[in-house]
Symmetry: C3
Subunit: 223 residues, 3 copies
Amino acid sequence: MEREIFDKKYRKRLEKLSTTNLSDALDKIGIRGAVIGIRPLFGLPKVVGSAVTIKITAAGMAKSKHHLGIEAIASAHQGDLIVIDNRGDTQNNCWGEILTCAAKMKGVSGVIIDGAARDVDMCDEMGFPVFSRGVVPITARGRIMQEDFNCLIRLGDVQVRPDDILVGDINGIVVIPPERLDDVLFEAEKIMEKEELMKKDILSGFDILEVDKKYNYEQMLKK
Amino acid sequence: MEREIFDKKYRKRLEKLSTTNLSDALDKIGIRGAVIGIRPLFGLPKVVGSAVTIKITAAGMAKSKHHLGIEAIASAHQGDLIVIDNRGDTQNNCWGEILTCAAKMKGVSGVIIDGAARDVDMCDEMGFPVFSRGVVPITARGRIMQEDFNCLIRLGDVQVRPDDILVGDINGIVVIPPERLDDVLFEAEKIMEKEELMKKDILSGFDILEVDKKYNYEQMLKK
Amino acid sequence: MEREIFDKKYRKRLEKLSTTNLSDALDKIGIRGAVIGIRPLFGLPKVVGSAVTIKITAAGMAKSKHHLGIEAIASAHQGDLIVIDNRGDTQNNCWGEILTCAAKMKGVSGVIIDGAARDVDMCDEMGFPVFSRGVVPITARGRIMQEDFNCLIRLGDVQVRPDDILVGDINGIVVIPPERLDDVLFEAEKIMEKEELMKKDILSGFDILEVDKKYNYEQMLKK
């Protein structure tokens, strides 16, 4: 999807939704899109963007031309998200201070790592959200390397293609195929509105049993 | 135990004690009551209350009448704690925004989950403490369901009956049988007082070796 | 190393470096020194100090003379770090309120535990940094005991001798042999300076691909 169209038509709508609303919408439509266990390392970030993907492999005799992340950042546009597949490895670092500095200059929204990060305090200081499974102080150099970038990857059980839309917040990560974005937003906004009405009723003093019956909460995801 | 008696006689005393004081008292009396690995998801909460329990099972052909939590909240009293047994599963959500909203309206003190939660930011915003083993964005609907409520459950290695007294803070969770509450409080308060005296001595400049000898720290839990 | 010499010659230089800079320097020199998975339990601490080590074993018929930590604290000097080896066990507590109080009075910089801690809120309140793998409310008494102190221990995959220099921050822990401290500092400071120049170039608008080539980022750890 064109970045301009995305920013104009979709970004603000996505920013209003939580990953839980979006996860429910993906469920209703039947798309596997929620990732478990990749968490923000600090604060209450909300990130939305198109994926620029990186695939990591072990270092060895075959070499990378550039340090991991360099080409991905160079190819990224304002508002994109860097998304790194290191197969959940929490023993090796995939992201640090210099990459954060460069990504921040490009206007990248954040980084989402199926693995670990380092220089977390610097990232926090630069206001650059990092989502990962862990933190290590050890360099990637000589341990892991970039196998490819802007290629098909996976985060946990979820497939991620370059330009898939990712949303991250304190509750986790969801991956949305751009070709289904309209449907997902339609359902997620319906869910958010229904939940707002339910909360309003509960806060007005209606009993949770009545509210449950009125809105049919358990069956909310049925078509 | 009657809620009024509990609130009048016991609540304030429990609020002054840490889960570590209470865990030591349970040890001294010989009751298994401390739960490992269920942590607060934000802040430095202190929760005290009678358990309203929920037992979770996998979704399937057998159906629940209500979405999980609805009946437990409807049956809860001011100051109670919702306590959910999902066998430590960190892949499925047991608690979210709507339930928080309803529980908050009932004056429930918090939720303690042997499993995962979602809508964590909303819970934080509503000032509703959540203790769990993890966070996921994915809905419970179609994945897990309530098998029973106000029934016997377990948290980690600890048995929890409806109306057992639970205390949670940054150090973890303890479960106290109401029939032993007087004994546990008596021992916990002695431990807290002894520790206060030890701290006072240390802060006055006494050497830790002298203080250790004077208070017999290692043997403190012996009768 | 003499504490006075260390404090005069090295402490400030170490405080300016992150554990990531130091980990890279250790890599370059070929020393295994970074520990994975032992994290600060609160805040953004920075600790630097000589190790006073403690080795934990299971409680049983053989007894310790003192509660764990007592002798280590009594033998510690201003600025030292207490370092506890409980083999990564997250089911048993190795550190709490009374020890924190005594360590604080001695001017100990913090505690680093390959295992779990308790009374975390009190440690935070007293401004005493705790690094560990987890938190439990349960006492050490009757469960684990001190086998030895100021002896050889390990943290994860890294060996720690008494008087080894440890540095801890939000990114993790590094262990530096005092006999190589000059070399490690020399390399770490070069790395920090090079990274500062790289960040300056990036923030001046140079493309990450050019900066990568200019500073040869991927090969930075080669001699």
